[in-house]
């Protein structure tokens, strides 16, 4: 029986963890199988949950988030027969751990291009949740995409806060968005968990375009969400569960544009917003990145961003 361990945000964070849950549910529905799951409440439970599931024979154990890297390195060697998959981690080295990393900066780059092309004012905005490197990573890719499409474009970036409350403060998200609009922004990209709900809502209310994150959020405000930067955590989880005990471990799987691990959401809800020109540019950029002709710089490379100052 596979097991799924959600990160602290909880399984209904409307983005990352929820995507994992959706992937697992899809697997369960398709195969009729069952899986174990836990939502953690505290840091100390990370290791606890890992051991618990390992001891009761769950296999594979899929865990979410970079926070699991450290506990996993303590637990994985103790259970050599159990297979682990960890999402958003790429720097460990254990034979029984499968690491899945997403190239969020590449996906963000594409939505950045779309934002720049959709913007009439030449100013676009980014709203991050809690100020952590991962979110800067999103913002950095976005800014590079914006500049690629329109070198003169201005990117306004704000973080919501420095405590976990920053993930669940849609009111502040709204206010930030309004402030960005007053500075001329007419497209806003939110990578802020529950706070993003407020960003998208305000964008819709104020008549500017927004960009969702992680899962497809286009349907939240049809015709007002330009696109969503997809991070196919659901696919990663689905495939890990489908592989079951045969899961390939000891590898780092990078889910980039080539693997369709990240991408832009196109559906009926945003069809009217996406011009052919935009679509062509995005497709070209995707091909270039996959081919290595364009290099999107990752924030992690030297903790700074060529296109944006944090």
């Amino acid at each position: 029986e596979p097991a799924l361990i959600f990160d602290l945000g909880g399984k209904f964070d409307k983005s990352f963890n929820e995507a994992a849950f959706n992937g697992a549910t899809r697997w369960a529905e398709e195969t009729g199988g069952t899986f174990r799951e836990i939502e953690m409440q505290s840091e100390a439970q990370r290791e606890q949950a890992l051991r618990r599931f390992a001891e009761t024979g769950a296999n594979p154990i899929i865990t979410m988030g970079f926070g699991m890297a450290d506990p996993l390195s303590a637990v994985a060697p103790d259970y050599p027969d159990t297979k682990f998959a960890v999402i958003d981690v790429s720097w460990l080295d254990f034979p029984n751990v499968r690491q899945v990393a997403f190239a969020e900066h590449e996906g963000s780059y594409l939505v950045g291009m779309m934002a720049a092309m959709a913007s009439k004012s030449g100013t676009v905005a980014f709203v991050g949740g809690m100020d952590v490197p991962l979110i800067r990573h999103f913002g950095c890719g976005f800014a590079q995409g914006v500049k690629a499409a329109n070198p003169d474009a201005k990117v306004i970036a704000n973080m919501t806060g420095t405590t976990p409350a920053a993930w669940n403060d849609p009111v502040k998200g709204s206010e930030i968005t309004k402030a960005q609009i007053s500075q001329g922004a007419d497209v806003v990209y939110a990578a802020a968990g529950g706070t993003g709900v407020g960003v998208l809502q305000t964008a819709a209310d104020e008549g500017i375009l927004s960009i969702g994150v992680d899962s497809n959020q286009n349907h939240l405000h049809p015709g007002k969400v330009l696109t969503s930067m997809l991070k196919r955590v659901d696919v990663a989880v689905y495939e890990a569960m489908k592989a079951g005990e045969d899961l390939e471990t000891g590898v780092v799987v990078t889910m980039g544009l080539a693997e369709e691990g990240v991408g832009v959401a196109m559906d009926d809800n945003n069809a009217a917003l996406v011009t052919d020109e935009m679509e062509a540019a995005v497709n070209a950029a995707r091909d270039d990145i996959i081919a290595g002709k364009v290099n999107v710089v990752s924030y992690y490379e030297n903790d700074s961003c060529p296109a944006l100052d944090f």
Binding site: L8, G10, I38, E39, M40, Q41, S42, E43, A44, Q45, E47, Q48, A49, R51, R52, F66, G67, A69, D70, D88, W91, M130, D131, V132, P133, L134, H137, T162, T163, P164, Y300, E301, N302, D303
Partner: protein, 372 residues
């Protein structure tokens, strides 16, 4: 004169209150379509049924002991320190600096060094609001709330921009060197021939917390300083009459309080995570308020309340692990426990007092009748 015998006050009232909280919690569990009896069993066996469960229960309890004591000592001086959270964060910073930048030869020395740093950092973070209260009259409730936010920003800055190993995604420090890793209860107890779960995070700082409970008990109830702190807390005017300086007491009480909150970091940062992560305190500073209030600011009460909360945390984790009960239910159960044992205790006490009074009347009248 006391209406009730002491055992009734100390044992019966909290027990009945807990029972009431349990009954209401059971109703809530029932309402969301789960089996309350099974849930309760799961919580008890999960938290207390194995050394593994105990290891986690005691780990959480250790955190709450430190923050609970921190709030309690401030309460004795009639100061409401809501800043335990921020002080504990700063304590974590102190521990991280001590562990990362000083080459310790042995964990015991590292613990001493880290504890000093943790206490120092926490104390400084409490001393500023204390000084502002004593000298400028700035209300300590506001300033300590503000200092929590400021601490969060400071910690974020140091972790994201300074202490994070280059290229790491995780806003956390590197792992502390092996030599600073604290022995867990397993390590401590196996030489004594006691088998304790290897996996549980409870560690030697539990002993530090217990020592802090005892130390604080001695401080409050046996030393002249404690006597002065309590006197000041009861009556500022009388304290002045007796030559007890309000400034001195405010500063000392808050410094001790902040140091205790800071010391929590020896458990969660040094003992468990063995590195400093962004959200390491996880609201333990606020739980400390509930713990101190429920423990009536007495170190023994704080100890017991901390274990109760440790039980709720660990039992709750087990619930989440084995059932589909959402984790918010645990928060609700915590709320009910706080409500019934802490705020609605008179609901139990009042009828009990009537009962005991009636019993006593009956006894004395019978005795009088016998005497005639």
């Amino acid at each position: 004169m006391d209406v009730m015998p002491k055992w009734a006050e100390v044992v019966l009232v909290p027990l009945i209150s807990l029972l009431l909280a349990g009954i209401i919690s059971a109703l809530v569990v029932l309402a969301i379509g789960e089996d309350p009896v099974a849930a309760a069993k799961l919580m008890v066996t999960g938290a207390l049924g194995s050394t593994y469960g105990w290891g986690y229960t005691l780990y959480y309890a250790t955190n709450f002991m430190f923050t609970g004591l921190a709030v309690a000592i401030a309460f004795h001086a009639r100061l409401f320190n809501i800043g335990g959270e921020g002080q504990a964060m700063l304590g974590g910073l102190g521990v991280a600096l001590a562990c990362l930048y000083i080459p310790w030869p042995h964990w015991s020395l590292a613990l001493v060094g880290a504890a000093v740093m943790a206490g120092l950092f926490g104390a400084v973070w409490a001393a500023i609001p204390a000084w502002l209260q004593a000298k400028r009259g700035s209300h300590i409730v506001i300033t300590t709330i503000m200092f929590n936010f400021i601490a969060a920003a400071l910690l974020n800055y140091t972790l994201v921009n300074m202490l994070r190993p280059k290229g790491s995604m995780d806003p956390a420090t590197a792992r502390f060197p092996e030599a600073t890793n604290l022995p867990t209860l397993h390590d401590l107890l196996s030489p004594l021939g006691i088998e304790f779960s290897k996996a549980a995070p409870a560690n030697v700082s539990l002993l530090l917390a217990i020592a802090a409970c005892i130390g604080l008990w001695v401080l409050i109830w046996r030393t002249r300083l404690g006597y002065e702190i309590r006197a000041y807390g009861h009556s500022e005017s009388a304290a002045k009459y007796a030559g007890i300086s309000p400034f001195k007491i405010t500063m000392i009480a808050m410094i001790i309080s902040g140091a205790l909150a800071g010391l929590m970091a020896t458990n969660n940062v040094m003992g468990e995570a063995e590195r400093l992560v962004l959200n390491s305190t996880e609201g333990a500073g606020f739980i400390g308020i509930a713990v101190a209030l429920m423990g009536r600011s007495h170190p023994l009460g704080v100890f017991i309340a901390a274990i109760l909360f440790g039980f709720l945390y660990q039992g709750g984790a087990e619930l989440a692990l084995w059932t589909s009960i959402p984790r918010e239910l645990i928060v609700v159960i915590q709320a009910l426990v706080i409500l019934f044992t802490g705020a609605l205790d008179n609901m139990v006490r009042m009828p009990l007092e009537k009962l005991f009074l009636a019993l006593r009347r009956a006894r004395t009248s019978k005795a009088a009748g016998a005497a005639d």
